[in-house]
C-alpha cells in the first residue's frame, strides 16, 4: 500500500524507515545549532558577541538550555484546559516534522545496490501536502493560545489565525507559477525541470511573494505579531514553560527549515549546481543544505533589520499587495506557458 505512490520504483520498507530516522535525527541535531547560529548572528548584528560561554564558541549553549528546560517543573495556569494545553505543542512539532519529509535533499542514489531517493517521500501532490500540514499546524498555535486560558495567549493565537490564513493564499499562489512552468507537482520533478535555468529567474515575482509570505507563515519578524513581545508578552506560548515551550520553539525553527527547503526546491534548483557542474551524488544534500542556510541567514538578517509591522499594515500588505501580485504572476505565467 503506497497511498502517496508515484515513486517510480519499489522501495524496501526498511529503507523507508531508515530514511525517516536519518532525516529526523539530522533535523533535530541541526535545530539546536540553528538556535545558537541565530543568537550569534543577532549578536553580531547588534554589535555584541552572542552566547560564547558554554563550550567552544558557545556551541554547547543549547545543550545547557535543553537540560534546564527538561528539568523544569511542568506547570499550567488554573484557567487552562489540561489535555489541550499538552496537545497543542505536540500538533505544532508533529506537523513541522511531517512537512520536512517532503524536502528533496538529493536525487535517487544507488546505495548498496538499492535505489534510494534522498528524501522522505516524493508525493504526486508535492507542495499541496506541505500546505495541508501547514493548515493543521494552525491548530497547534490556536489551541495552544486558547487552552492557556490567558488573554495574552488568546490574542496571540487569534492574530496568528488571521495572519496565517491571509498569507497562506499568497504563498500558495506564488508557487502556482512554478508548478505551471514545470508541469508537475512532484518536488523532485520540479528540481529536474530546472536543469536549464533555476526558476528564480523566470519566476522572480513569485519568488519575492513566496519569500514575503513565508516570513508571515513562520511567524518571523517583521510579521511576528503573533508573539509581539511588547504587547503580548510572548503571544500564544506565554503560559508555556519547560519542554512544551521547547516544542513550540523547535516547531518554529523547523518551519523555517521547511520553508527554506521549499524555496530552494522551487526556485533555487534544489540539488542542482550552476554552470553545468555535476558533482557525485553524495554532494547533493550538502548543496541543498548550503542553499537552505542562505535562506535561514536571510531570515535572521531580516529579523535584526526590520521593525515589526502594525497589525493593519500586516493585513493590508497581505491582501492588497501580495495577493494581487501573486495573482498577476499566475496570470502572466499561464499566458506565457500556453502561448
Amino acid at each position: 500500500m503506497t497511498p502517496f505512490g508515484i515513486v517510480g520504483y519499489y522501495e524496501l520498507w526498511w529503507v523507508a524507515i531508515l530514511k525517516a530516522l536519518v532525516i529526523f535525527g539530522l533535523a533535530f541535531a541541526i535545530l539546536p545549532l540553528l538556535t545558537v547560529y541565530e543568537r550569534k548572528l543577532l549578536g553580531r548584528f547588534q554589535g555584541r558577541y552572542g552566547p560564547n560561554r558554554v563550550g567552544p564558541y558557545g556551541l554547547m549553549q543549547p545543550l545547557a538550555e535543553i537540560l534546564k528546560f527538561a528539568t523544569k517543573e511542568g506547570f499550567r495556569p488554573t484557567t487552562s484546559v489540561a489535555y489541550m494545553f499538552r496537545l497543542a505543542p505536540v500538533i505544532a512539532i508533529l506537523t513541522a516534522v511531517g512537512a520536512l519529509a517532503l524536502i528533496p535533499f538529493g536525487d535517487v542514489q544507488h546505495i548498496f545496490g538499492e535505489r534510494v531517493g534522498l528524501y522522505g517521500i516524493d508525493v504526486s501532490v508535492g507542495p499541496l501536502y506541505v500546505f495541508a500540514l501547514a493548515g493543521i499546524s494552525f491548530y497547534g498555535i490556536m489551541l495552544g493560545g486558547w487552552a492557556s486560558g490567558s488573554k495574552y495567549s488568546f490574542l496571540g493565537a487569534m492574530r496568528g489565525a488571521a495572519q496565517l490564513i491571509s498569507y497562506e493564499v499568497s504563498q500558495g499562489l506564488a508557487l502556482v507559477g512554478v508548478v505551471m512552468t514545470a508541469g508537475t507537482l512532484s518536488l523532485t520533478g520540479i528540481v529536474h525541470a530546472q536543469l536549464g535555468m533555476w526558476y528564480i529567474v523566470p519566476q522572480f515575482v513569485g519568488f519575492l511573494v513566496f519569500l514575503a509570505a513565508s516570513f508571515a507563515e513562520t511567524n518571523r519578524a517583521p510579521f511576528d505579531l503573533v508573539e509581539a513581545d511588547a504587547e503580548l508578552v510572548a503571544g500564544y506560548f506565554t503560559e508555556y514553560g519547560g519542554t512544551p515551550f521547547v516544542a513550540y520553539l523547535f516547531a518554529e525553527y523547523m518551519n523555517m527549515m521547511v520553508v527554506s527547503g521549499i524555496a530552494v526546491t522551487m526556485f533555487l534548483g534544489g540539488w542542482l549546481l550552476p554552470f553545468g557542474i555535476h558533482p557525485p551524488g553524495w554532494v547533493d544534500p550538502i548543496v541543498v543544505f548550503a542553499k537552505m542556510m542562505i535562506f535561514i541567514t536571510f531570515f535572521i538578517w531580516i529579523r535584526a533589520t526590520l521593525p515589526r509591522l502594525r497589525y493593519d499594515q500586516l493585513m493590508s500588505f497581505g491582501w492588497k499587495v501580495l495577493l494581487p501580485l501573486a495573482t498577476l504572476n499566475v496570470l502572466v505565467t499561464a499566458i506565457l506557458v500556453v502561448s
Binding site: 500500500m1 504526486s124 499541496l128 495541508a132 493548515g135 491548530y139 490556536m142 487569534m158 489565525a161 490564513i165
Partner: protein
C-alpha cells in the same frame, strides 16, 4: 496495513461526526469537526485520491474551520446553545428522512459491491493532472457554475457586512484617530517644555 489504516480513519471520522452533534460546547464541536475532516482526508488517501485528500485538509481543515474556530472562540464558547422548539421536532424528522434515503442508496448499490473486487486502479487516476483535465473538459460547466456560486456568496457577504455599517468609517473614531498632535509629543523636548504645540 491498509485495513488497519482504514479502520483507524473510519473510527476517527465516525467519532468526530458524533462529537460534532453530541458535544455541548461549540468550541469542542468545531474541533470534533476538524478531526472528522482530517480522518476523511485519510480515507481519501486510501482511495488513492491524494489531491482530494490534500485539498480537503487545506480548504476545510486549514481555512474554513480555522474561521469557525476563530468566530466561536471570540463569540464565547462558555454558554450552551439553546435549541428552538421548532428544531426539536423538525430535527429528528430530517434525520429520519436522511437515514431512509441513505439506506435506499446503500441497499440499492453498495451491497452489491461488497462481494466484488472493487474498481481497478488506473495509474494516474485522481492525480492533479487528471482532475484538472476533467475540470476543463467534461465538467467545465458545473465547475464554472460552482465558481460563480462562490463569487455570489463572497459578494453577498461583503454586501451584508456593509449594510450593517461594518465597513463604513465611524466619524467619531476617525476624528480620534487623526487628532492633531504636536510633532514633539512624547519626546524629550516636550517633557522639558522646550516648545509649545504649534
Amino acid at each position: 496495513m491498509a485495513p488497519v489504516f482504514f479502520f483507524l480513519a473510519a473510527l476517527g471520522a465516525l467519532s468526530g461526526a458524533i462529537g460534532v452533534v453530541m458535544l455541548r460546547n461549540p468550541f469542542y464541536s468545531v474541533l470534533a469537526l476538524v478531526f472528522h475532516l482530517i480522518s476523511l482526508a485519510a480515507l481519501f488517501l486510501l482511495l488513492r485520491a491524494e489531491f482530494v485528500a490534500a485539498a480537503q485538509v487545506i480548504v476545510y481543515a486549514g481555512a474554513v474551520m480555522v474561521l469557525y474556530v476563530f468566530v466561536v472562540a471570540y463569540v464565547g464558547s462558555g454558554e450552551e446553545l439553546t435549541s428552538g422548539g421548532g428544531l426539536r421536532v423538525l430535527g429528528p424528522v430530517f434525520a429520519l428522512v436522511l437515514a431512509i434515503e441513505l439506506c435506499i442508496a446503500m441497499l440499492g448499490s453498495a451491497l452489491k459491491g461488497i462481494s466484488g473486487k472493487g474498481a481497478p486502479y488506473i495509474p494516474g487516476f485522481g492525480s492533479p493532472r487528471h482532475i484538472g483535465t476533467l475540470f476543463l473538459t467534461k465538467y467545465l460547466f458545473p465547475f464554472e457554475v460552482a465558481s460563480l456560486l462562490l463569487l455570489v456568496a463572497a459578494i453577498g457577504a461583503v454586501v451584508l457586512a456593509r449594510r450593517r455599517r461594518g465597513l463604513e468609517a465611524d466619524p467619531e473614531y476617525q476624528a480620534r484617530l487623526h487628532k492633531p498632535v504636536s510633532h514633539l509629543a512624547g519626546s524629550m523636548a516636550e517633557s522639558v517644555g522646550a516648545r509649545r504645540d504649534r
